[in-house]
């Protein structure tokens, strides 16, 4: 159906659950915002200037060994479904997908490194790894930054650091985030207070696909809210500490769900959700996410769930609307998607 979606592997390495805390942390991402010296930021640049920046960035990516056998895609040539597919994989943002300007994305063969061009900034470099691994994710993207920085002159000031279109990103240009699964804290009603308390630590919480997106399946994206005045290692270390504390709290909340008074109710919820996923004939993405969240927690608690975290993670990615359509090889209406989703899950959980 699509040359682009077919060129990506069905399974992605960063969903393999082979990192630290696979039962709670889905993935860690680090992105660096960079702009080219002497060029207007994308919002204010002419169409010709944007095309020149796009072509220079893609050329630099092609020259990098880090993008060997990678994907190089201009957004103007992508269909809406292909853009949604790349958004679901976290390779591009919704913002880049919706902009009409000359954008592009380069993704490496392992899909753990990408370069978005002409989104809010000229360049957005990103690495994504499995589990909790802020240092590893930063080192990966930092290598790309060093390599690109040798051929592209970045906009940089000794005082303010890397200069960005929005002042909230100036300095290191770094956003480090973890996709965290917090079903027990959510059920305990602890999330509002927890999210408020992390804001005092310079952290912010978003939905699964970034700013302004839904909280689906008790997944929260936790990231640094500020990025100027400290080193990259300090920002990564701060997030590490916050996430480590969240893991501690989530484990405590899960233990309370398994204590004598609540254990039966917890087991009942988990196995009802498991039964629903194994038997449903039609499943919306929201209903799927609500139930896979409980099943994921059940697997973490040691209940007999016929799928490991890697399988659960891959299913979570593959059941997204554009991925379902890519798999089917054609556009699917909402009802058809719900039916295809239920079919796939029955086949893979039974």
């Amino acid at each position: 159906m699509s040359r682009v979606t077919d060129s990506f592997r069905p399974h992605v390495a960063w969903a393999n659950a082979d990192g630290a805390w696979p039962d709670i942390i889905f993935s860690t991402r680090v992105r660096l915002a960079r702009n080219l010296a002497g060029r207007a930021f994308p919002q204010r640049a002419s169409a010709a200037a944007l095309r020149a920046i796009r072509d220079a960035a893609l050329e630099a990516a092609r020259a990098s060994r880090l993008f060997a056998r990678g994907h190089y895609l201009k957004t103007a040539a992508l269909t809406p479904l292909e853009k949604n597919f790349l958004t679901e994989r976290h390779h591009i943002s919704h913002k880049l997908a919706s902009e009409e300007r000359a954008g592009a994305v380069a993704v490496n063969n392992d899909e753990n490194l990408s370069l978005m061009v002409n989104e809010e900034d000229h360049l957005r470099l990103q690495s994504i790894v499995s589990g909790l691994a802020t240092a590893k994710a930063f080192e990966t993207v930092n290598r790309l930054d060093d390599e690109l920085g040798r051929s592209l002159a970045y906009a940089y000031s000794e005082k303010f650091g890397f200069l960005t279109a929005c002042p909230t990103n100036v300095g290191t240009g770094l956003r480090v985030s973890c996709l965290v699964h917090l079903p027990a804290l959510s059920r305990a009603g602890a999330m509002p207070k927890l999210l408020e308390s992390i804001s005092h630590l310079g952290m912010t919480a978003r939905g699964i696909y970034g700013e302004g997106t839904f909280v689906l399946g008790d997944f929260y994206q936790i990231s640094n809210a500020t990025c100027l005045g400290r080193s990259e290692a300090e920002f990564c270390g701060n997030l590490d500490r916050t996430i480590t504390n969240m893991i501690r709290l989530e484990i405590g909340a899960r233990e309370k769900l398994l204590a004598p008074g609540l254990k039966l109710k917890t087991e009942d919820s988990i196995f009802r959700a498991y039964g629903l996923l194994k038997n449903a004939r039609t499943l919306s993405y929201e209903e799927f996410m609500q139930n896979i969240s409980l099943v994921r927690m059940g697997a973490a608690m040691g209940y007999p769930i016929r799928a490991d975290f890697s399988t659960l993670n891959q299913i979570t990615l593959l059941m997204q609307p554009a991925h379902l359509q890519a798999r089917a090889g054609r556009a699917l209406e909402s009802g058809e998607r719900d039916s295809a989703r239920a079919d796939y899950i029955r086949e893979n959980l039974n």
Binding site: A20, F41, G229, D240
Partner: protein, 181 residues
Amino acid sequence: MLCQSCKKNEAAVFLKVAVNNKVTEMHLCEACAAGVTAFGGLEAGPMNISGMMGNMSGYFKEFLPHEKRALHCRSCGLTYHEFKESGFLGCPECYADFEHPLTELLTRIHGNCLHAGKRPALCPGRPKCGTSPVPVVFGLAGQKTIYNTEALKEALKKAVENEDFEAAAGLRDRIRNLEGK
């Protein structure tokens, strides 16, 4: 209940969104919810999340120093007033031409106005950009967490034998949680 976006139709869909560290619950009609994709499409739909939650320009307006209408970037022509409206600068040179008000703004946003991170590869004298991984200090790090009292008691015994009292205290708390004490 009426849809919170169009305020005309009956709400049929319930959504949760995380914005500004708060989980917001919204009741929408099917038409408004249809315009909201699961992929961050809140701005694209008939409902505008900025309008409901306060947008970036509002954020900057609140914190920016007093009007400096005459101030503009000599390179791209962006006025400081335009920056206040949009929250976006026009080009890298804006940072030099708006240095004073931006210094104050950045201090308010980041708690600091001086860069302390890496320098670009093309800048001479670039210091090595080091990372200092933070060790995970509790529990059974890195692997699947165990929710089995017997296994935790065994780990507690080993921790005490090794005189690792910090780990032992953590394990003791976990066993208490599981036993509902």
